[in-house]
């Protein structure tokens, strides 16, 4: 299979998020600001599904040749975190950062990304993670595709270039669908694609030498009025947990298994 134009120009949109592996005991919400607080000493990470998107881009780079630019919108970026896609093998990092890029809703984020995509020049493919592990909206890829007028395929588990377009396997609850789209296109990537690669030592060294391109709201010509969230956050709270677990123990673990079955029978559950 030959690519339409080599190398393929790919933009991957990534987000810096609070580490979703933070233990529940360290999970805190600030009721005043209605924000989740990062646990002390736990650095943020690149959103997991966005790493799957980086992996998808790098597989195309490995197989047909690609130039991979990573794009992110936000503020308070931690450079060691944001350089991870570079150390995995991406070529370039563009950070759209501005004090006004805070508490953005998916529409505002996609709007800023659309300006950054346009500013970054010609491209063949935009990749995103299927959703971010903070607000789980799964909205930015769809809104961004609409704003850029691109064909959009979500939740990809596999993507290949074919002829002048793309063939994508879109993961479904019971299998997948095969979707064809012309380029340029936008695809959101899911974990079914496979584990993202680990950065190599050489990759980490190369990433260390690269300086990200940074663009402010003014550089991008952002209309600040368009950043206002469309919905108002009335409340953000940890849900109450009132369940009481009845622990079944026996003389040993095997006995506990037997007693558990008897208990479930007694309570008419089996």
């Amino acid at each position: 299979m030959t690519s339409p134009r080599a190398p393929v120009r790919i933009l991957v949109c990534v987000k810096q998020v609070i580490d979703p592996e933070t233990p529940l005991s360290a999970f805190k919400v600030d009721p005043a600001t209605k924000r989740v607080l990062a646990a002390p000493g736990v650095p943020p990470v690149v959103n997991g599904f966005d790493e799957n998107a980086v992996e998808a881009a790098l597989r195309l780079k490995d197989t047909v040749g690609a130039e991979v630019t990573v794009l992110s919108v936000g503020q308070g970026f931690i450079m060691d975190v944001m350089k991870k896609p570079l150390s995995m093998g991406a070529d370039r990092l563009v950070l759209a950062q501005d004090p006004s890029f805070q508490d953005l809703d998916p529409f505002a984020t996609a709007y800023i990304l659309s300006l950054a995509v346009r500013k970054s020049g010609a491209f063949d493919l935009v990749l995103c993670g299927r959703q971010a592990s903070d607000w789980d909206n799964a909205q930015v890829p769809l809104v961004l595709a609409e704003l850029l007028g691109l064909p959009c395929v979500t939740v990809a588990q596999k993507l290949e270039l074919a002829g002048k377009g793309l063939v994508v396997q879109r993961a479904l609850p019971d299998g997948y669908e095969v979707v064809e789209a012309p380029l340029p296109a936008l695809v959101s990537v899911s974990n079914e694609l496979g584990e993202p690669r680990y950065p190599t030592l050489r990759g980490i060294m190369a990433a260390g030498k690269k300086t990200p391109v940074t663009w402010t709201a003014a550089d991008l010509g952002v209309d600040l009025a368009r950043l206002a969230p469309k919905l108002r956050v009335l409340d953000l709270f940890a849900p109450p947990r009132e369940k009481q677990c009845e622990f079944v123990a026996g003389e040993n673990e095997a006995d506990a298994g037997r007693l558990l079955a008897l208990k479930l029978r007694e309570d008419k559950l089996i």
């Binding site: 979703p20 799964a138 769809l142 064909p151 919905l231 108002r232 369940k243 622990f247 037997r258």
Partner: protein, 329 residues
Amino acid sequence: MTDMNAETVVLGDLADGRLSGATAELIALGRKLGGPVAVAFAGVGLESAASEALAAGADKAYLLNSPVLAELQTDALVAAFEQLCKHSSPAVVLVAKTPMGRDVGPRLATRLGVGLAQDCVDLRRDSSGTLIATRPVYGGNALAALAFSDARPSIVVVRGKVYPPLAPDPARKGEIVRFEPKLDPSAVKARTVQFVRREAAGVRLEDAAVVVSGGRGLGGPEPFGMLKELAGLLDGAVGASRAACDAGWIDHSYQVGLTGKTITPNVYITVGISGASQHMAGCSGAKNIVAINKDANANIFKEARYGVVGDWKKVLPSFIEAVRELVKS
């Protein structure tokens, strides 16, 4: 501003040519919000589904017809529903969180320039009529309550199995309105050309009264054989955590969780699952959670009704044997 005469429009979908359960749930939710409820169906041969929608509680069914809609490509559906919304100005649009709905909702919201709340588990109006949606965020570690503005329509994507459908009443009457959107075939840019189904034999995971799931703690693919045996004894289905699926131990179609399947069994038996909130998001509707895990501090025990702290290799065989004896008696 709340105009109680403004419609709630449910984006309807079919399952094997009949009204889908998800659509019936949204009709029930629309009735709860107050005001008339309409269901919009796109495609061809929709008359019987429209009658089912009326029986399920809708006041009206819009039948959207165009040759471009024949294949039900997402691009065509978005364009058709956009035209319907511009034509009928609904107050609220309800969308089921299905593979199709998850895509259609945000794209429709962008085109109409309005807000959208994704994956909602509660929807209500406050005393002033403001629509308030509640949704899990941070993988279910927190809940967010979001207020819509007056911009029309408010678009809400609703998680499945949150609102029970109403009992169908075949005597209910309603209006059937035909609407022909003006669609250009070139609007379809991305095209689904094939569906590949991978369905497990036996009871469907989503419908099972008993589900037995395994996670990272199982350590490999082989123990799923034991889980299948147990599920078989209980007429149940097997599930898995994302970690077990990502490890390649079992197909992703078995995945329960935020990005997998949502299940609502009476009994949910978990083996070697720590109970990360991303997993619990898929089984919060389970009535009785039974957990076998060697870590007494695992989150699963905060959600479980019954627990055994121990090594599944020792607990599970005797549990299965005892269950085998009990179901015989």
